[in-house]
Structure formats: C-alpha cells, structure tokens
Symmetry: C2
C-alpha cells in the first residue's frame, strides 16, 4: 500500500524539468540523475514510460535529452501515476462476491477519493 519509488522519481524529475525553463529545453538524463541522486539507467527506464505516455519527448544522440510536451501545463499527478504504475485497483477482492459486495464498494469509494484528489493536482501547481 504505497506509491512506487518510480512514481516518486518521475514526479520529481518532471518538476525539475518544469523549473528548468519548461518545454523550451532538452535535458539529458544525466542532469536529472545528478539533481535527484538516482542512477541514470533506472531513471531513464522510468522516463521512457513518461515518453510512451506522451507527456515528454526524447531525442537520442548528442544534444539530445528529454523535453516536456507543450501540453505540460495540463498534466496532473494522476496522469503520471498512471503512466508509471498503470491503472490499478487498490483493492482486489479475493472473493467472487460480484458488484454487490459492500467491502469492495467501500474500498472503491475510498480509492475514488484518492484518485480524484490526484486528478485535481497539476504538476504546474507543485512548482510554485
């Protein structure tokens, strides 16, 4: 019952990127790994998922790196959580009680409240 470190890394990396002039610059993973004190290889794997999800772009080769997409101001914390960990169900009922199971329903309600909070948090708001 924890958010993954990968999500933590991704959020911090993105906030760092926003600070470094938003979508105007390309930042190599090397820079980010120094800033966050995380290995380049692992951070790169994490960021690749953010690329796939289309919140940043990447360019290989010299002078390459990661750059925020132009739409970055609308990206939410929830978007990143999903990009890293996928859409998860917090509570998987081991028992096949179907939809009428009240335990399941209670957990779902709690989960919805968690998710909605994260949907209302834009990365932009975390950088002020």
């Amino acid at each position: 019952m924890k958010f993954s470190k990968a999500t933590d890394y991704a959020l911090h990396a993105l906030v760092y990127m926003i600070h470094r002039d938003g979508d105007t610059v390309k930042i190599p993973v090397q820079d980010l790994s120094v800033a966050l004190n995380v290995s380049t290889t692992y951070l790169s794997k994490v960021l690749t998922r953010i690329v796939k999800a289309n919140y940043i772009t990447s360019t290989s080769g010299a002078k390459g790196g990661y750059r925020l997409q132009q739409n970055w101001e609308n990206v939410t914390v929830y978007d990143i959580v999903v990009a890293i960990d996928g859409v998860q169900t917090l509570f998987e009922d081991s028992f096949d009680h179907g939809n009428e199971c009240r335990i399941q329903a209670a957990m779902m309600e709690a989960q919805d409240n968690l998710i909605n909070t994260l949907k209302n948090k834009k990365l932009k708001d975390l950088t002020v």
Copy 2:
C-alpha cells in the same frame, strides 16, 4: 499500490462473524477458513493481529474460537487496515525536501482523503 490480501481476508472474516450473530458466538478459524476458502494457518495469523488490536477476542481449546468484542459496532474499515498493515504512509518521498515539498503535500492530501473515507465506514455498514 494495493491493499494487502491479509486486509481483504480480515474484512471478510469480520463481516462473516458479524453475520453469525455478532458478539454472541465463538467461531473457530476452521469455520472461517471454510467460509472464505483460505488456509486456516494463514487466516489464523491474520486474525491474531486483530486480536492484538482488540477488536476480537480469542479462546484456545475445545469450544474455543474468535469472538467479536462488544464494541464491534464502532469498528471502522480503517481500524482493520491499520491493525493488519500498520499506519502507513502511502507516499514516501525519497528526497529530503522537508515539509515544504509540494509533491509530498499533494500525495498527503490524497492519502488523507482515502483514509477519511475508510474511517467513515463501519464494519456494521458493510453487512446490511
């Protein structure tokens, strides 16, 4: 980012116990394990944590078993989550940004909303 199976088992076991005449009967783990289709040994380990947390009592020996505490009507889903998994922080910031870290703050707010929902759910309400 998931609730544990142990929590799932505990909630179902407790709801089952409530159905079986509340706090008036002792129910051996054998019965519960049949009802939930979970091994007696593991379920027993799980329930011992609920005993420690004082939401049920246990008596060894013949005619023994688990019995709800008299206060069971006030026990919440959150109480059980804590009894099983302890008080957890959903998001542990790997970076020592201190309290002013906005990422941390956003995650905390989401977590609070999750927890408050579970605090407002009594086991009693899951059994109607």
